[in-house]
């Protein structure tokens, strides 16, 4: 026991925290609201590993999978049964905010948890097949403005899901009207949707940049816009952003965490700092690089308002297309 405490203190000292600061002792739990193998599961496992490697936690980080309702089961569990557990963080992403905005978690909203921070993102893209007549986003949007039914989109999420919303975000920013009548075909996953676009059955693909790598490398798919603030690093650098084409549309699919609401301010500060330290580390940069994650990290304290705004935006959009009454 003495030994463990010593290590805990040593770790605390090493990361320049005052001796009085709150720190979790023993095992920490990371709740992945999906089956093993998915994005949230990846978030928990990779963050848990890097946190242990960096000695940000004294004990181990255990990933617990709790699938159901697209994260709703885990959200309900956090809100009701674990509301003051300070050793619990839950993986989240844009899928979480989308469902919160569209009231897909009955009786729950985004203010019922504390939002800790984001650790990277996958950015939305709009792409066409290599033989398409659309050379850039403006041409595509002009066609939409003339007749909303003229461009048909395919994506891997349900109607009203994140892939569909990205089309609407871009169309709205471009000034298109009559958003609900833009045809959107939903497929089981991005790969299926892309095949239809490459095969010429559907006009345009909406998805995340990580999904499109294969078809982009083979040259079958032409990415006409990425919905990020600046151009992406590395091999994605040639893709123009929507912003530089004069269309102010952003679509980051971020990955991050929330924690229970009735926890102390010290515990919250500890987790926010831990995520900051983690994000700045070389170990995490390596994880991001090998998994196609792109830098995205609102400053401490800004994440909560980022989430609130995103939920607000999605809610407005969903109302406009008639998904919410």
């Amino acid at each position: 026991m003495f030994f463990k405490t010593t290590i805990a203190f040593a770790a605390a000292a090493a990361f320049s925290m005052s001796a009085m600061a709150w720190e979790p002792s023993g095992k920490v739990e990371c709740l992945a609201p999906a089956d093993p193998g998915g994005g949230w599961d990846f978030t928990c496992r990779s963050v848990g590993k890097v946190m242990q490697d960096l000695d940000l936690v004294s004990g181990s980080v255990q990933t617990v999978n709790m699938a159901g309702a697209g994260g709703g089961v885990a959200y309900a569990h956090t809100v009701s049964k674990r509301k003051n557990d300070e050793k619990l963080i839950v993986a989240a992403s844009t899928a979480t905010t989308t469902r919160l905005a569209q009231k897909q978690f009955p009786g729950m909203d985004a203010s019922m948890v504390k939002w800790v921070g984001a650790l990277g993102a996958d950015y939305g893209i709009i792409a066409v097949s290599k033989d398409s007549k659309y050379e850039n986003l403006n041409q595509l949007m002009d066609a939409l403005k003339e007749n909303p039914r003229s461009v048909k989109f395919a994506g891997g999420s349900a109607r009203g899901g994140w892939d569909h919303l990205k089309v609407l975000i871009a169309a709205k920013a471009a000034g298109a009207e009559n958003l609900p009548s833009i045809p959107y075909l939903s497929y089981n996953n991005g790969g299926e949707a892309m095949t239809q676009v490459v095969g010429g059955q559907v006009d345009a693909f909406t998805g995340d940049v990580s999904e499109a790598t294969g078809f982009m490398d083979s040259g079958d798919l032409r990415v006409i816009a990425v919905l990020s603030e600046e151009r992406l690093p590395g091999k994605f650098n040639h893709i123009p952003t929507a912003r530089e084409q004069g269309i102010d549309a952003l679509g980051p699919n971020w990955r991050g965490f929330y924690m229970p609401k009735d926890t102390s301010a010290e515990a919250q500060k500890y987790w926010v700092d831990a995520v900051d330290t983690l994000y700045a580390s070389d170990e995490w940069k390596a994880v991001m690089k090998s998994n196609g994650l792109i830098p995205f990290h609102p400053k401490a304290g800004e994440f909560e308002s980022f989430v609130t705004n995103q939920v607000q935006d999605i809610e407005t959009l969903s109302r406009e297309i008639g998904l919410l009454k």
Binding site: A69, R159, L323
Partner: protein, 508 residues
């Protein structure tokens, strides 16, 4: 020759010691499942699914395990047909006709050996057919748009009962139940929740792996508890092997004919392995005419149906892998497994998951060699296992099912759900409502709905788009035939099958 290269890569996947071990295990368990009367290949594969999850197998290993079980079950079915005159599974029915008389004459060991060779030949021919046909069909499938896919799924539903199926109403009821279950959860084309009743656990729909393991495996357990609890069967004598090389050679034409016919029956929708073995038996009978003594223990009467049903087993994989439309119950279960491993069957799978597709195909070839080895020198082991009391087997199967389902989602809710499905499956089987159409409805219903929606979005709501291409018109015509043929030809075929079997009465 591109195919050969892929196949070589497939062998590289299948020949790793880890995968080879699971292929061997699957072949062994499959043979055992096949030879236990009443336990068919679909149930067998369903029972093994939770094991794949319990062990956390990677996708290619999981698929290799399950296809080996599938191939093994096709081999195993003959054992009890020959020794006990009870078909181990439905396709092995025809093997009773000459297999049991051979056993009565003291040639049980010969019948088992020659039928193992015939199974090998049939399976080999079927797998070669699969290797040649699948990539071609997969490329062809790229020309399918939503309208064509809709017509294809319609065809699958129309031929669901099979040409020999009796009581089409029960098939329709079962398929409708499957489709109804599949509508629970979010509807991807409108983004709204359907039939969830505010229960969070239902928001993502009902996992079909749960339904399959419940309906097949748990109901099977209940049946075992009811009918076969207690002591095993008495031991069966096998006799010495007197099979000569000349005799084996003399059956080669029969093996080739049987395997080819079986393969064709397997690829065609609505035909399946039972019909494959029936057709090849009857063909053999008419080709050889009076030269053979069919029904009295003719060796070719054992070879023909075994080559036929094993050929059909490989043939049935073709539409499942290339189009995502299973032709039989077992391939439906395999399809469900593929989908839950996040692999979408069809043309995309042949490019994106080439290692899995070709690994599985190579594993089929390797599995066949393993099965031949298992089924000739080691046949005594299986014969002895036939008499193991189920009371030792049942607790193991139950434990694996529960642990496996729990390890998918870590949710006790799912376990209750699985038990619910198991009890439901038990009741349905008591009412003689087939379970396979439920699974097909569950798997294909949402796809059909999705493609209909997409076709209508693409055509701006014009329904004629559904039959506007020659391909879709062709599919509609075949679907129409699939509905009409069973009522015209079905009774005749069924009568013939029944008559053929009357010659050697089947108990159990």
């Amino acid at each position: 020759m591109e195919t050969l290269g892929f196949l070589m890569d497939g062998f590289a996947v299948a020949l790793t010691p880890y995968n080879l071990m699971f292929a061997l295990f699957g072949a062994f368990v499959g043979t055992l499942i096949g030879c236990l009367p009443g336990l068919g290949p679909a149930n067998g594969v369903a029972i093994l699914i939770p094991l794949a999850f319990t062990l956390g197998l990677p996708p290619e290993t999981a698929m290799i395990l399950l296809t080996s079980v599938y191939a093994g079950a096709m081999y195993g079915g003959r054992i009890s047909s020959i020794l006990l005159n009870i078909p181990g599974d439905e396709p092995a029915m025809m093997t009773c006709l000459d297999g049991y008389p051979m056993a009565q004459k003291g040639r049980a060991a010969d019948a088992l050996a020659i039928s193992a060779i015939a199974s090998f030949a049939g399976s080999l021919i079927g797998t070669i057919g699969l290797i040649m046909l699948a990539p071609v069909l997969a490329r062809f499938a790229l020309t399918f748009g939503p309208a064509e896919y809709f017509a294809l799924f319609l065809l699958a539903f129309a031929t669901l009962g099979g040409i020999t199926g009796k009581n089409p109403m029960k098939t329709v009821i079962a398929a409708a139940m499957g489709i109804m279950i599949s509508t629970v959860g979010i509807d991807i084309s409108t983004g709204t929740q359907r039939y969830t009743g505010g229960v969070l656990e239902l928001y993502e729909g009902i996992d079909f792996i749960l339904a399959i393991v419940g309906l097949f495996a748990i109901s099977e357990l209940l049946f075992f508890v009811e009918a076969r609890m207690g002591k095993g069967r008495s031991k069966v004598k096998m006799g010495k092997m007197t099979l000569t090389f000349k005799e084996v050679v003399s059956t080669v034409p029969t093996q080739l004919r049987g395997g080819l016919l079986g393969f064709i029956a397997g690829v065609l929708p609505g035909a399946g392995a039972s019909l494959g073995s029936f057709i090849s038996y009857t063909l053999e009978k008419s080709v050889l005419g009076k030269k053979g003594r069919f029904g009295e223990g003719d060796i070719r009467g054992v070879v023909a149906p075994e080559a036929g049903n094993n050929g059909a087993a490989s043939g049935a994989l073709v539409p499942m892998l290339t189009l995502g439309v299973p032709g039989s119950g077992t391939t439906a279960v395999l399809l469900a497994m593929l989908i839950s491993l996040n692999i979408t069957p069809g043309p995309l799978m042949f490019t994106q998951n080439a290692d899995i597709v070709w690994g599985v195909i190579a594993a089929l070839l390797i599995g066949n060699v393993l099965l031949l080895i298992l089924n000739i020198p080691m046949i005594g082991v299986f014969v002895r296992l036939l008499s193991v009391p189920p009371m030792y087997l049942l607790p193991i199967v139950t434990m694996v099912a529960f642990v496996g389902i729990y390890s998918i989602s870590h949710s006790t809710f799912d376990l209750y759900f699985m038990i619910l499905f198991g009890v439901g499956g038990y009741l349905l089987r008591k009412l003689e409502i087939p379970l396979v159409p439920i699974i097909l409805g569950l798997l294909l219903g949402p796809e059909m709905e999705k493609n209909l929606g997409h076709a209508l979005i693409l055509s701006d709501g014009d329904w004629t788009t559904l039959w506007s291409s020659p391909l879709s018109i062709g599919l509609w015509l075949v679907a129409g035939l699939g509905l009409v043929l069973p009522t015209l030809v079905g009774p005749i075929l069924r009568r013939r099958m029944r008559n053929a079997i009357k010659e050697g009465p089947v108990s159990d």
